[in-house]
Amino acid sequence: MSPRPTTGHVRRPAILKAAAEVIAERGVIGTRIADVAERADTSAPGVLYWFATKDELLTEALAFADDHFYAELRDELARLDGARARLSRIVDLWPAEGDGEAVLWMELWVRALRDPQVAAARERLDGRWREAIAGVVREGQASGEFLPVDPDDFALMLGALMDGFAIQLALHDPAVTPERVREHCMALVEERLGMEGVPDAI
């Protein structure tokens, strides 16, 4: 049995935070375990004790960033009144132009193309995001704010639309601005969930 590295002083979260930063800056391919170790103020064996591969670091770092995101989201949404306002806030919070997290998602997609384990991790993260959207839709339906459409179908639609636009924002497509993206997303909310007859034209 190999000796356990002296990692007692290192917190796993510190490594994950460092990994998210370094991978967002340099990409999975350009990231060395030693870079993450340096950022987290530990040694390479200290990182490898927790994470065997760079792909594992990527998926765990995203899950870790996600935990933070959802904790904040829960607090933010709790302060808002009404499901429509909450859904609007979810649209605002989605990674926008220049956001490090949008790059991490693209890294995840590229790695998922050729690695079933990464693909499975991506599905879990995506499912969690869709569940957050569907949860707000259910609240709105219970309170009578939204039409009784299938919440999971709607979450799939809004999630796909936001991702599609996030790509164009990340590529700095001059034709697509965060304001336009917001308008498109909220038009979908009104069109599919709105109780007030004719939806606004996009």
Partner: protein
């Protein structure tokens, strides 16, 4: 053999190799072997990985463009365009892999962004013109094209990755349903 045909053979090989290995892992020597030319000749045509990816994508899009137009009524034509943009098995799936590689690479390497912008602009104009020519009444063709492309990417990437929540057939129906709604059509009546 003409220089043009040699170049095309290198590009064909590059497209296949990038799709199977990924742009980061692809080896120039392997592309040369597949294309039955010297490594030096491949290096002569592509100075960097970014140039290789950009050229391979443009090449693959040009080839796709040649067979893309189909006659028919405007709604059928648009439905067929959506179909041609999704990761169907075969060439379209292969092009999609390159497309996803391009997103990441272009975010990291700004010199690739003009290639991405050009391909997006081409797709945008293709949809916008088809909508305008379709005479669907007072619709904002540009906004509908943006909306449709975002949905194609958002649904397409999930279908490409084999997400059980988004099989290809469902991606096709969701995108068409949304587009038909934007155009003021009843999508059910136009399903084939």
């Amino acid at each position: 053999m003409s220089a043009q045909r040699t170049r095309e053979r290198i590009l064909d090989a590059a497209v296949e190799r990038i799709a199977s290995d990924g742009i980061d892992a692809v080896r120039i020597a392997r592309i040369a072997m597949d294309a039955r030319v010297s490594t030096a000749l491949v290096h002569y045509h592509f100075a960097t990985r970014e140039a290789l990816l950009a050229e391979a994508l443009e090449h693959s899009f040009e080839t796709a463009g040649a067979v893309s137009e189909q006659p028919g009524d405007p709604a059928t034509r648009l439905r067929s365009m959506v179909e041609q943009c999704l990761p169907l098995p075969g060439e379209q799936e292969r092009d999609w892999v390159l497309w996803v590689e391009l997103w990441l690479r272009a975010v990291r390497h700004p010199e690739l962004r003009p290639t991405a912008a050009k391909l997006y602009a081409r797709m945008h104009d293709w949809f916008r013109e088809a909508i305008e020519e379709g005479d669907f009444g007072p619709v904002d063709a540009g906004a509908i094209a943006d909306h449709t492309l975002a949905l194609i990417d958002g649904f397409g990437v999930r279908a490409l990755l084999g997400d059980p929540a988004m099989p290809l057939e469902r991606a096709r129906e969701e995108v068409w349903h949304a587009l038909a709604g934007d155009l003021g059509l009843h999508s059910g009546a136009l399903s084939s």
